[in-house]
């Protein structure tokens, strides 16, 4: 029962902070709310007994990626005057794609049957050893594919960042 209450508090916090990310005027505040949102999601992981996932989520997303994002936002000149005039076309495109995504999600939710919520019994599913064994046996191919993807991204960024000799 108490875990259910905790879940609802966490879930509502997640949604509220996610909404703040979208509606904050200042991009810095958006980033801050996003970090908070990541924390609540890490809380969900902890409740699912996936402590390793939770802490990695905090380290990677809140600790590294959001720092870089904050870094970029801080260096931007965010004065209103210097903002170039934008055409409304991208906004329409964004609304249409967002709406389509929502439609897909809703359809998926509708067609799938939701399992009854039961508080997970104490298990060591989320422990490091278990996650490690799973990654290197059952999910070896996706794991290696992801690393290839990362390497491709890294090489791509190096190529982009390298100055043109000509």
């Amino acid at each position: 029962m108490s875990s259910q209450i905790l879940f609802f508090i966490l879930a509502s916090l997640t949604i509220v902070s996610a909404l703040f990310v979208v509606f904050s005027k200042s991009p810095i505040y958006s980033v801050m709310w996003m970090i908070f949102c990541f924390f609540t999601i890490a809380g969900h992981y902890v409740m699912l007994n996936a402590q390793f996932l939770a802490i990695v989520h905090v380290i990677v997303y809140a600790g590294a990626i959001m720092v870089l994002l904050l870094f970029t936002v801080m260096l931007l000149n965010l004065n209103k005057e210097s903002e170039p005039h934008k055409s409304p076309l991208p906004k329409f495109a964004a609304i249409i794609t967002g709406g389509l995504l929502m439609l897909v999600l809703l359809a998926a939710m509708h067609s799938s049957t939701l399992p009854e919520y039961s508080s997970p019994a104490f298990s060591d599913v989320g422990y490091v050893q278990k996650v490690g064994t799973k990654i290197f046996t059952e999910f070896l191919l996706p794991f290696e594919m992801t690393s290839v993807l990362f390497i491709a991204a890294m090489i791509g960024s190096v190529v982009l960042a390298k100055k043109d000799k000509n």
């Binding site: 810095i28 390793f52 380290i59 600790g63 720092v67 870094f71 260096l75 490091v128």
Partner: protein, 354 residues
């Protein structure tokens, strides 16, 4: 006594001890600096100047509080608070000593033995950079922003090598991420397989390279000299806390000393056997349990104090790095070195078994 009450008392004690050690670290810093420079340091407030931290703290509290006009007020206040909170949170997973027995019940001297202990520390430490960044940005000052940017890029760069050097320690320990089991694994077994003294099977004898990498990264994470570029007084007039005054500045300075205390504790736990000391088993068999526990706590604190002293000793020996040198050291030297170290250790562990 229920577990909850014991844990609450432990948390409160840790809180007070962290703050007390941080306060006296400021005094120790000045004393060590003075002694290394053939001076005697503060000696006016109380005997040997022992009341100096109280005088400094009172000064900080009584100073005028200034919030710059064009700063973002909420973020300006959030910055130091966040830095302090993250600094204080890390002490939760460190095993401070052997278990003690009160009224027939055995209590572990660790607030939370979570199975991702060391990752928890890395995660919280990586959050500490937000306090610096927010504080630096919201000051609306170019020097502060430069300091914040330096701090964040430095911390991100050195976290990687730090994590890599931790991995080698995990490889030769029981394979658990819990700090408690890492410490316990250093208390049992023989050193190099033949030196039969209990409690000296420390990781530093197996992983000296990882230790040096971790130590270097700890210096960088704590913004200590030779990596104190974020707050270099001579270039950035204090860096990210240029605009701060009164106790908000105090929180920043204080949290840095707490960080130093915690990193000294983590180094002791990972590489120097935590609360283990040579002959711990002999004493454990001949003395009451609680006395051995108290001795183990004392031993851990001796190690911590040595490392705090070492941090200061290095500060007054080595000059500051240049920024490109810092980045070169982090990415070109420490990072490949730690990866090679992981590979070699992994190969040896696979080949020889543990």
């Amino acid at each position: 006594m229920s577990l909850l009450i014991f844990k609450s008392i432990l948390i409160l004690t840790l809180f007070l001890v962290s703050l007390g050690i941080a306060a006296y670290s400021t005094y120790a810093e000045r004393k060590v600096a003075a002694f290394l420079q053939d001076r005697i340091g503060p000696d006016r407030a109380g005997p040997y100047g022992l009341l100096q931290p109280i005088a400094d703290g009172t000064k900080m509290f009584l100073k005028e509080e200034i919030i710059p006009m064009f700063s973002d007020k909420w973020l300006f206040i959030l910055g130091p608070s966040l830095f302090m909170v993250t600094a204080l949170m890390t002490s939760a997973v460190i095993p401070w000593g052997r278990s003690i027995e009160i009224g027939g019940q055995v209590y572990s001297l660790q607030v939370a033995d979570i199975n991702v202990g060391i990752l928890y520390i890395l995660g919280i430490v990586s959050l500490g950079v937000y306090g610096i960044m927010i504080g630096g940005w919201s000051s609306n000052n170019k020097f502060a922003l430069l300091g914040a940017i330096r701090a964040s890029s430095q911390m991100i760069s050195y976290e990687l090598a730090m994590g890599m050097s931790v991995i080698t320690v995990l490889l030769i320990s029981n394979g658990s991420l819990s700090l408690n089991s890492i410490v316990e694994s250093q208390g049992e077994g023989k050193l190099y397989g033949f030196i039969n003294v209990s409690g000296i099977n420390w990781n530093v004898f197996y992983q000296p390279v990882a230790f040096i990498i971790f130590l270097t990264c700890a210096f960088a994470e704590c913004n200590r000299t030779p990596f104190d570029l974020p707050e270099s007084e001579s270039e950035l007039i204090g860096g990210y806390h240029t605009e701060y005054s009164s106790m908000k500045l105090g929180l920043y300075l204080f949290a840095e000393y707490i960080n130093m205390f915690i990193s000294a504790a983590v180094i002791s736990c990972l590489f120097f056997g935590g609360y283990n000391f040579p002959g711990i088993d002999y004493l454990g068999n001949h003395l009451p349990m609680n006395i051995v526990s108290l001795i183990s706590v004392g031993v851990l604190f001796c190690k911590i104090f040595f490392f705090i002293f070492f941090f200061m000793w290095v500060r007054w020996t080595i000059p500051r790095f240049r920024y490109d040198q810092l980045m070169r050291l982090g990415w070109y030297v420490l990072m490949p070195l730690s990866i090679i170290n992981v590979l070699i250790t992994g190969a040896l562990v696979t080949y020889f078994g543990n």
